[in-house]
Every structure is written in C-alpha cells, then in structure tokens.
Symmetry: C2
C-alpha cells in the first residue's frame, strides 16, 4: 500500500523523501498515519528493486535531499499493480482508496473499468458483519445499537459507492466503445 503510494506520487514528478511523506500524510494520514521509520525503509526496498533511482542533491536545505525518480521498471510496476491489484486492495477500503487515488495513471480506460468492476463485484455480493447461521443479518434485526450502527454506516457507504461505480464504469465504457 505504502509502496503503491510512493510509486504513484513519483509517477507525476520526482520528489525527495520528506516531501513524499507530506503527500502520503495528506492522502491517508488522517486515517492511518505513516511513520518515518516505515517510509524510508520502503524507499530503500523500492530502490533495491530498481523501481526508483536516487539522486543526492546536496546543500539546498538542511540535510542533503535524496531526489527520487521513478525508473522505467518502476513505471511499469506501478501500472501492473494498478491493473492487477491483490484482492486485499479491492476489499479493504484503505487500500482501495489508494488504488483509486492513482488509477488515472493507467492510460487504458477499459483497464480502469476492469478494476472498478472488480470492486463492483465485491460490493454486490451479499455480505454482512453479522450472521444468523449463514444468513446475513440486517440492521433492523440487531438489538445492539452499536452493531446496528456498523450496518447502517456500511450500507450508506455501499450505496454511495455502488452508484458512483456504475456511473463511472458507464462513462469509461462510453468513452472507448
């Protein structure tokens, strides 16, 4: 996830680690903060895998900046991860939002639509947080007000997202018939 965000931000422009951190914090930080000690090792991993290159730029301010640039391999890898996200990236909202944030970098509208369809399929299958046997329970069937809250909120999210997904898939299909 973090790696996807790094690759995604660097796709637009070369950045140094600190700036990257600020952007990632703005994107997902209010929900799930990222520690510096997570970011820098992640950058190293990606560098080691040759997905990004580091150019030391000394003197400008304080400690010497390491300006990070996406390599050709890195750009391909980003597209691959966007086009073929793991199932986790589809189901977990945190991860899914990160995919969405960079999905525009896939240049093929039908590939974008395919990713949205996977999320659509996930949201369309009947699922709940609570079951009676195998049957998903509805909010109204629960005594516990807090568990009812979970279902109420999840349902609202699901409705809004389904509407958005269907509309966006339609317009992507219309754009490239």
């Amino acid at each position: 996830m973090l790696e996807l965000a790094i690759l995604g931000f660097l796709y637009d422009a070369p950045l140094h680690g600190y700036e990257l951190r600020k952007r990632i914090t703005a994107l997902t930080g209010h929900v799930k903060p990222v520690a510096e000690s997570t970011l820098y090792p992640a950058i190293k991993r990606l560098e080691k895998a040759d997905l990004l290159a580091r150019a030391t730029q000394p003197g400008s301010v304080a400690a010497p900046r390491h300006v990070l640039t996406l390599t050709e391999t890195g750009r391909n890898e980003l597209c691959r991860r966007l086009a073929e996200p793991a199932q986790r990236d589809i189901t977990d909202e945190n991860r899914w939002f990160t995919v969405l944030a960079f999905l525009r970098h896939l240049d093929d509208p039908s590939a974008q639509a395919a990713v949205l369809r996977r999320r659509l399929a996930f949201l369309e299958e009947p699922a709940s947080f609570f079951y009676s046997g195998d049957r998903p329970l509805r909010a109204e069937e629960l005594d516990d007000p807090f568990r009812r809250g979970i279902l109420t909120i999840a349902r609202a999210t699901s409705r809004a997202e389904l509407a958005w997904l269907r509309a966006t898939i339609d317009s992507l299909d219309a754009g490239s018939p």
Copy 2:
C-alpha cells in the same frame, strides 16, 4: 485489533480457536481476512499475558480442542481497551468497526458515549484526502474522476455516520441523565 476481537468474542462465551476464527472471519473477514498463522500466536500472546485461560478438551472432534475462557484480568483489559481506544482505533474504519462491534460490553452508557464522541470529534474536523496548499479540496474541484469518487464516497460515509453518532449519543445521554 485482532486481540480486541478475540477478547470481545470470548466475553460472551468460551470458544475454541477454530470457532473464534470463523467468527472473526464473519466479522471482518470479507474486508480484511485473518490468517490462521496470525490467530494462533495472538491467542498465545493473550494466554501468556494471563488474559485468557486454555482448557484442553480431548476426543470430541478431530484434533483436541483448546477451549478458551476469558480471565478476570482479560475482562478488565477488554473494558480498558474499549473505554480508552488508541487514536488509530478511532480513525481507521477497520479498527473502529471492531471497537463498535464490542462496545456494548462497556456497561457504562456514559463511557460508551465518550468513545462515540471521540469518533464524532474526528469526523467533525475538516479533512480531505487532497489539498491545495492547506485548504481541503472538494470533490467538485478535482479533474480526476477517481479522486472525485474517493471524496464522494467518503462524504456519504461521513454523513451517515455523523447522523448515527449524534442520534446514538443523544439516546445514551437520555438513558443516563
């Protein structure tokens, strides 16, 4: 998170690991699956910390079941974690839903309301995923349809949750004036 779920389920009734796993999978598994190799070490951790006790029940089916029971310490610890969740548990929806799923185990309505108020405060502060300088951007200001989607969905969730939070806090306050 996982630990909270384990403690929460055991609060109701003693269970063995496998049953625990099925319940956790039902609760959060469609969004974020839990591997067995994560669950069993977690159980061991909790046992080592004396939060739960294990009673081997041989012969019933297949491998001998280890029936897990919450200790007095474990029950207190669950309540402590529910009453004083980490900030992460408030901001991250996955974690927050787990807190909500077991919040009924706090017997004090005003303590329950206090937890809901923390979430309320988090949702009320202006935040976005995208900024222009320091100003949070609205969905309408974005070109990227996918990023617009993120904001659209987040806004719908936020609205539904705010309404539910306010109503529930009111009714908790009314119940214990």
